[in-house]
């Protein structure tokens, strides 16, 4: 695609792009809308049965009139059972698109998973969400995986009472259970989410609750069916620190209670350090570094991770001047063919002009995509 540097497209070119887009998205939409497909088609195998989720070389693109936005461009990571994986990165790096891909909640038809695998472990079966159809994923969503959003009001319906909304989720996944049992379970869930006056809240409308209380309701809904995987996309970003502390505490305790896994998305390194067992660092739609929380915080390897940590002041550590990463993120429509971080990197080497660096293992769990570690790989 020919792009002028100024980023403006002629009307003719824009029309051509949208025609091309339509061809691709129509085909993918048809796949997704198929009905009554035997389930076997979506079943797959895990690399490691101890994982709740395995993502392999996932590519999620948005086919816009400005061109194809490669929001997620080849990422692979695991979420082990019972563990919390934190995903960090600055806004626009593709964190939300990753989670929406896993839930199959992308804005269709322009948002599409174009390739890769998303393997969800439901206990006895493993589904490939990337290839699944709408009918099947509906049965998994809420039951085996659920999501908590930053702004609970976007996912709570303002005109229905809290209790009815929780009841609905339970009824969907446990059809035939009598209503009084469902209702009792709802009250129990609200209680579990730390809502003191659960019976009162059952009859309230979302707008009658504070932000922190709404997020508790969202957590109650997300945990209603004891899912295997909980995706929390910036669950506390809109909340105050003392309320954030309550919510994080709650998430941690409930996760252990039902033995599920959490994929926690945030831009706050402090929250990650506190909650996560494993950390994934994203930059411009790719994973630049991943490892255990100890590895990432004690020995950050990628220049972007190092820069990110140096740009945030830390309470109790006095410094004169904060480090600031120079430059800005590359244009997502027109990505470079070398390391995406090279133009901002202050540690770059001559060889960084080559193609995008591949993932290097610097320990069994610690992986980094950076030319500075190419020698280390050979040494090991």
């Amino acid at each position: 695609m020919a792009h002028k540097d100024n980023g403006y497209l002629s009307a003719k070119e824009s029309r051509r792009i949208s025609r091309e887009n339509k061809k691709v998205t129509d085909k993918l939409e048809k796949q997704y809308r198929r009905k009554n497909v035997p389930e076997d088609e979506f079943l797959t195998k895990l690399d490691n049965p101890d994982n709740a989720l395995e993502v392999r070389d996932l590519h999620t693109y948005f086919f816009t009139d400005m061109g194809v936005v490669k929001s997620v461009d080849g990422i692979s990571f695991d979420v082990p059972i019972g563990k919390t994986v934190g995903i960090v990165g600055e806004s626009g790096c593709g964190k939300s698109v990753t989670s929406l891909s896993i839930m199959q909640l992308l804005q269709r038809p322009q948002g599409q998973i174009v390739s890769g695998e998303i393997r969800l472990n439901t206990g006895d079966k493993v589904y490939d969400i990337a290839k699944i159809n709408a009918q099947t994923v509906q049965k998994l969503r809420g039951r085996y995986m659920s999501m908590i959003f930053q702004e609970p009001m976007t996912s709570l319906n303002p005109v229905f009472r809290i209790g009815d909304q929780v009841d609905e989720v339970l009824q969907l996944h446990f059809p035939g259970v009598p209503l009084d049992q469902i209702k009792a379970r709802t009250i129990e869930l609200l209680n579990m989410a730390g809502i003191a006056n659960a019976e009162g809240v059952y009859r309230m409308f979302p707008h009658e609750l504070s932000g922190g209380m709404r997020q508790r309701v969202m957590i109650a809904i997300a945990l209603a069916c004891s899912p295997r995987l909980i995706i929390a996309d910036e669950p506390t970003t809109a909340l105050d620190v003392t309320i954030q502390a309550q919510i994080l505490d709650l998430l941690r305790n409930l996760k252990d209670k039902i033995n599920s896994s959490i994929m926690l998305i945030t831009h706050d390194l402090g929250v990650i350090a506190e909650m996560a067992d494993y950390v994934v660092v994203m930059y411009s739609g790719r994973i630049v570094e991943q490892g255990t929380a100890e590895e990432i915080f004690a020995h950050p390897a990628h220049p972007y991770t190092i820069g990110l940590m140096a740009s945030k002041p830390v309470v109790g550590k006095k410094i004169d001047k904060l480090y600031s990463i120079p430059g800005k993120v590359p244009n997502p429509v027109n990505m470079p063919d070398y390391c995406y971080f090279r133009d901002r990197c202050e540690m770059k080497l001559d060889r960084c002009n080559g193609e995008y660096p591949c993932e290097i293992n610097i320990s069994p769990t610690h992986k980094v995509s950076c030319y500075r570690f190419y020698d280390k790989k050979e040494g090991e």
């Binding site: 600055e90 806004s91 504070s210 922190g212 209380m213 105050d240 620190v241 003392t242 309320i243 954030q244 502390a245 309550q246 994080l248 505490d249 831009h267 706050d268 390194l269 402090g270 929250v271 990650i272 350090a273 506190e274 996560a276 929380a293 100890e294 915080f297 004690a298 820069g307 990110l308 940590m309 740009s311 945030k312 002041p313 830390v314 309470v315 109790g316 410094i319 001047k321 904060l322 480090y323 600031s324 990463i325 800005k328």
Partner: protein
């Protein structure tokens, strides 16, 4: 910009004037009294009064009642302004550019079609601190605790204050005439949190930054262009950016434009209201560094409002902690962070996540949520969530005490 602020201020002032309708308790009392008085009069004059005389007397009585009601309404109106003089005025101390003494700002709550005042939001409810020239004071607290209102009331951007003093260079800001106020506006500026909505989309950046400079004739005409270029350069903007429009800039650059606009007026004091909260971490670092450089260069004094404690610790010389309209603790940054005293400050600090997985925080989790500032708890406002609350705390409001030199706390635990 200055104009915008002035207009906003005027607008709010007019609303203040209209909103002082009736303070209801008093008005209602008068209505209750009236029938009793009316019943008395005929009883007295029963024997002698002719029909006409009685009518005249009734009329006079009605007139009297009407006037009485009017007087009471007026009294109520005066009370509705809620001017509270119950504070000791402070003496000016030249080392302080800003002295804030028992500052209060209540917003009336309106109800029904007649917009009667049914109560007050006590957004700022007694804030006292002094700010040394050339330093930065951080103001922290959770959302709704009154940080923004404090900043705006100091700059006289929220109509009249409810009570207290704001001395800027020793002069009461609220005693200024409109003309004096306009001149003062160049000395006191504000940078807002949201760099997206605080810039006019229809003006090119050069005009946004320079508009008020020309209006106040701060520099001679022939130097104007160089002056603007210089300010933009200091704020990290390129000269050609002058001809672009705000929507063409990223969040960080827009915040630079806001800062340049404020600094173009050559202020002494700048209120920074969450200037980095909407920005990404790496952009935050750039803006924080810029604010620090500019402070050194222009000898600025900042009131830095933020809910991010690590940023506040980094940039501030002193820190104030607010809870529900009160400044519960304030002192030097070292003191506050190494030796927090107020139970709320302790809980707030313990809630900050530390970016180090090996550190296990000894977290104090506060129960419940923040009460409404329209109906704050009696006594110490924090007592409903305080782990140390005593019977005294529930009924008696604590006052500000200096525990160490320069370290002030408002809490009964330290009232010895």
């Amino acid at each position: 910009m200055a104009d915008e602020i002035k207009n906003a201020a005027e607008e709010e002032e007019t609303t203040v004037a209209t909103e002082t309708a009736v303070a209801d308790p008093v008005a209602e009392e008068s209505v209750q009294e009236a029938p009793a008085a009316a019943a008395e009069t005929p009883a007295q004059g029963e024997v002698v009064m002719s029909e006409e005389e009685r009518k005249a007397a009734e009329k006079a009585e009605k007139q009297r009642q009407k006037e009485e009601l009017k007087r009471l309404k007026e009294e109520a109106r005066a009370k509705a302004l809620y001017v509270d003089k119950s504070y000791d005025p402070v003496e000016y101390d030249p080392q302080y550019i800003l002295m804030v003494n028992n500052l209060k700002k209540y917003f009336p709550i309106k109800d029904g079609v007649f917009a009667r005042t049914v109560g007050y939001v006590r957004a700022v409810d007694g804030v006292t601190f002094n700010l040394k020239r050339g330093t930065t004071m951080g103001l922290v607290g959770e959302s709704g605790c009154g940080k923004t209102t404090t900043g705006r009331v100091i700059l006289r951007l929220s109509g009249e204050k409810t009570a207290g003093q704001v001395l800027f260079n020793g002069e009461e800001v609220y005693d200024k005439t409109p003309a004096e106020m306009r001149a003062l506006r160049t000395k006191m500026q504000i940078v807002f949190q949201d760099p997206f909505s605080s810039l006019s989309p229809r003006l090119p950046v050069g005009e946004i930054i320079g508009e008020a400079v020309r209006e106040h004739k701060l520099v001679p005409k022939e130097e104007y262009n160089d002056y603007i270029d210089d300010i933009m350069d200091k704020c990290g903007l390129q000269p050609f950016h002058k001809y672009r429009y705000p929507h063409e800039f990223s969040g960080g650059q827009r915040q630079r434009i806001c800062i340049a606009r404020a600094l173009a007026l050559n202020p002494e004091f700048v209120v920074c209201d969450e200037p980095v909260s909407a920005l990404d971490v790496s952009i935050q670092a750039q803006i924080i560094n810029l604010l620090k450089e500019l402070q050194e260069h222009f000898k600025l004094t900042y009131l830095f409002i933020s809910h991010d404690l690590s940023v506040v610790e980094h940039i501030s010389d002193s820190v104030g902690v607010m809870y529900l309209g009160n400044l519960v603790e304030y002192g030097t940054t070292e003191e506050i962070f190494s030796n927090p005293l107020h139970p709320y400050t302790k809980a707030l600090f313990s809630a900050i996540p530390v970016p180090d997985p090996t550190v296990k925080m000894n977290r104090i989790i506060l129960e419940g949520s923040i009460p409404s500032p329209a109906n704050p708890p009696e006594g110490c406002k924090f007592h409903t969530r305080c782990p140390y609350a005593t019977e005294e705390c529930k009924h008696v409001a604590p006052c500000q005490r200096e525990i160490e030199p320069g370290h002030y706390v408002v809490c009964h635990l330290y009232n010895k």
